[in-house]
Subunit: 227 residues, 3 copies
């Protein structure tokens, strides 16, 4: 099974470890044995003006996943929304009302589906590829999350080289390491069976530190400053 | 404390990683220090004609646990149903109605208790051994789950030697390894404190691979083919 | 950020692994990188006459945290009650009624807040330090829990040296080790990013064993006897 997935994660943090805004949406191609990405692409957001309601993230994820899917022709796209694995092209208003999610979640999806549902329908009729709202059950979604953390870390390093300093909140229970010519990231949850990722990194002249976010248990902070 | 427990797990998977049916019910005897089984027995099901509602699994577990208990005389039997640790012999209709479980769960238990409750009552009056519906709180239940995964893996290997190939979905966050003359299995959750199991295995002529189930996060797949 | 936190944990267990009563409340000072305590103090309870409703624990925690805070002047106090991070000094009756917690939780807080709320208000006006009901989101609360486990273990060793034997239930997924001149403890959950603690220990003449509590998955037992 060849799966494309996308997820948004990694936040610029203020002094009190609260998120200012999200940084990166990553789309990944995941193939058997489903432990890392065969290919990844990224779309950066501006964390200083970010809509934290979730609308922006979902829209970015659908569009970026479709972009990668057009190139690599996967069997399926996994979306990071846990709606019983329903195909996005079937997500019309009555279907949304019947979901067992919060009223706020329904309001967001009523708004989002206006353009995303016809988009998914056209994409499916042209390519045969379903976009499934499978969410946290998908290993591919988790790998996309790890890549979003890697790209956010890279953004943080480049930001610090310009501005002197950055404090990045990584996605849930993952860590990153700067290695020879690359950034390495892996899940801290051994129950996931060894999920990891890596992206190229060819900059120098910075110091970094990883430690637990004191007000968000199981989330790590990547802190970087220019040397 | 000497505990007998039973659990059902391990599923034959189709090409899309969906379960076709469950494979094995294992009963185990667990003694201090409660990290593995001192003894285990198995009852295999036919995964190609399996009732996935849960009824068959619970019935198989009660009967297999009682079979092992008659032999090893434990202090207590732990059942994999999380009903506040209530004794099965007390599970009559008014008690079931008063439980905080789903209506579907109640319907299943009303049906199951018809023969299991008198059975448990007779077993208790003859042996003094309680059958407790303690469920996921019990370490013995988790060890039984690991053994169900081991026996399912063994079933998969033997199936592949006859039919050429098998894909087994293991119980939650556990892995298995083929070692000299045995199958080894262990929990992937370090919070559980190092739970593991092993069963004899004396067949050869197969290759295997373990990897995450892409549509069921924290569940691993054991895939085996004839050499 | 310099954080003081307090938590109660570690229970004396009976033969059936059920808690008789809690043993220790620990208060800790946690500083960046938020992996262990820079300083810790303890208040022991009498496990043989302990109010397991939670009232005693919360009261002990607030008082012990304030005691340590007076000495070390932290930026904030984190309390192990998950009430959306609300400041304790604002926890009056209408605020408690508006919380999304159980009726039993509300009753307990209505009673507790009678003296704790004015106390927190005075403490805040004198020191500027907020006492936040942040609960399980706080890494400092988890470190306090690990220290409560360490002090409970120490209590158990001293009890066994007098009485011959003790069986201690540790706080959730942590283990302890007796090392040269100290007790070492660490979280068994790697998702937490490597939280640990240590306290001095200068007694000898005992044997110990650590193993999973068979009726409380992910909780370990520390068993100690006089040599």
């Amino acid at each position: 099974m060849r799966i494309v997935s996308a997820d948004t994660g990694g936040a610029l943090l203020d002094d009190g470890y609260n998120p200012i805004g999200l940084i990166a949406t990553a789309a990944v191609l995941v193939e058997k044995p489903y432990k890392t990405a065969k290919m990844s692409i990224v779309k950066y957001a501006d964390p200083f003006s970010y809509d934290l309601s979730g609308r922006q993230a979902i829209r970015d994820e659908v569009l970026l996943a479709m972009k990668l899917a057009k190139k690599v022709k996967p069997d399926v796209i996994h979306l990071d929304s846990t709606l019983r694995g329903i195909p996005l092209r079937q997500l019309d208003d009555p279907t949304i009302d019947a979901l067992r999610i919060s009223d706020r979640g329904k309001a967001i999806w009523h708004e989002l589906s206006k353009d995303l549902q016809p988009l998914a329908k056209r994409f499916w009729s042209e390519t045969g590829i379903e976009i499934l709202a499978i969410g946290k059950e998908s290993v591919a979604v988790r790998i996309a999350e790890i890549y979003a953390g890697l790209y956010s870390t890279k953004w943080g390093i480049e930001y610090a080289l310009k501005e002197g300093f950055a404090r990045i909140g990584l996605p849930r229970y993952m860590k990153v390491e700067v290695r020879e010519g690359m950034l390495w990231g892996e899940s801290l949850d051994p129950k996931e069976g060894g999920l990891y990722g890596e992206i190229p990194l060819d900059v120098e002249g910075f110091e970094y530190q990883i430690y637990p976010n004191p007000i968000a248990r199981t989330f790590m902070v990547f802190e970087v400053k220019k040397e």
